[in-house]
């Protein structure tokens, strides 16, 4: 049974022709988030005091931990790509396991955070700020889940000794880095920035 990774077309020398379609997707995805950020900041500038007051209920330390966890996960994927290109399957598998473990930790911390917020009376519809909080971080969490599936797929192929197309590896890695980058912005704008 061939895997998704193996079926990915891998035409031509990888470094010669960039996968324009994949980068288009990354930019479009980032732009969609960008729209959310813009609307969030617009609403915040119209309701600054209530946003500040609500933001005080966020658990910044958990946001920080998640930032560090996701940065580590992203770096692990960087190393996994290097290992993959060097055909060092052991190293690739280890780094992907680390990346996946970190993703799981991120998810757990996020769920904990959500539970604590809801218990504290802050829900999807309790205030405009918290609507944005849950929706922004929720859509981001959806991206984490999708990225986790892609990384698992990659790791499974590595463990089973199947050839993983370099283009596929780089696409999954780019997606994961995008997820990391978006979180950096969410952490800064929503967690820290709304509280400043």
């Amino acid at each position: 049974m061939t895997s998704f990774a193996q079926n990915s077309r891998d035409k031509g020398a990888l470094n010669d022709k960039p996968d324009w379609g994949m980068w288009l997707f990354i930019l479009l995805d980032m732009t969609t988030f960008g729209l959310f950020f813009a609307v969030f900041l617009w609403e915040m500038s119209n309701h600054r005091d209530s946003f500040n007051a609500d933001a005080a209920h966020l658990m910044i330390p958990l946001g920080l931990i998640n930032t560090l966890v996701l940065l580590t996960s992203s770096y692990a994927v960087v190393l996994a790509v290097h290992a993959g290109k060097a055909r060092d399957t052991g190293s690739a598998a280890r780094h992907l396991r680390l990346a996946l473990g970190a993703a799981g930790l991120f998810f757990t911390i996020k769920m904990t955070e959500y539970t604590l917020e809801v218990r504290g009376g802050h829900t999807l519809t309790s205030s405009p700020f918290f609507s944005f909080y849950f929706i922004l971080t929720g859509i981001h969490l959806l991206h984490i889940c999708i990225g986790t599936i892609l990384l698992s797929n990659w790791r499974n192929d590595v463990i089973r000794g199947k050839k993983v197309a370099e283009r596929w590896m780089e696409s999954v890695a780019a997606y994961w880095h995008m997820v990391d980058l978006l979180w950096l912005v969410i952490y800064s704008l929503v967690y820290i920035g709304s509280n400043a």
């Binding site: 960039p18 980068w23 930019l27 980032m30 732009t31 960008g34 950020f37 813009a38 900041l41 617009w42 915040m44 500038s45 500040n52 910044i60 330390p61 920080l64 930032t67 560090l68 940065l71 580590t72 992203s74 770096y75 994927v77 960087v78 190393l79 290097h82 890695a173 780019a174 880095h177 995008m178 990391d180 980058l181 950096l184 912005v185 952490y187 800064s188 704008l189 820290i192 920035g193 709304s194 509280n195 400043a196």
Partner: protein, 87 residues
């Protein structure tokens, strides 16, 4: 290849440190700075600089034609965010 790996490792630690500094800055009230909007704008700029390093060195787009697109995007997004924060 080794050089790139070293740069990536430095970038990773730098991103971790900057994230920690932001947190510490927040906990200490950003040195008593008065302008909340100014602080938020500065934080947004730092966020997009961090994002740029992820694109440059994690996504490994440094020196590529695609990086110009990302630079334009990051600049535009950062400008829009800062303007909205400061309005």
């Amino acid at each position: 290849m080794t050089t790139t790996t070293n740069v990536q490792r430095i970038v990773y630690y730098a991103l971790v440190l900057v994230s920690l500094f932001l947190f510490i800055g927040f906990e200490t009230g950003f040195g008593g700075m008065q302008s909340k909007r100014g602080i938020s704008a500065a934080i947004a700029i730092i966020a997009f600089i961090k994002a740029r390093y992820v694109v440059l060195d994690f996504m490994e787009l440094r020196g590529t034609k695609i990086m110009r697109l990302f630079d334009a995007w990051l600049l535009l997004a950062c400008t829009v965010c800062v303007l909205l924060i400061l309005r």
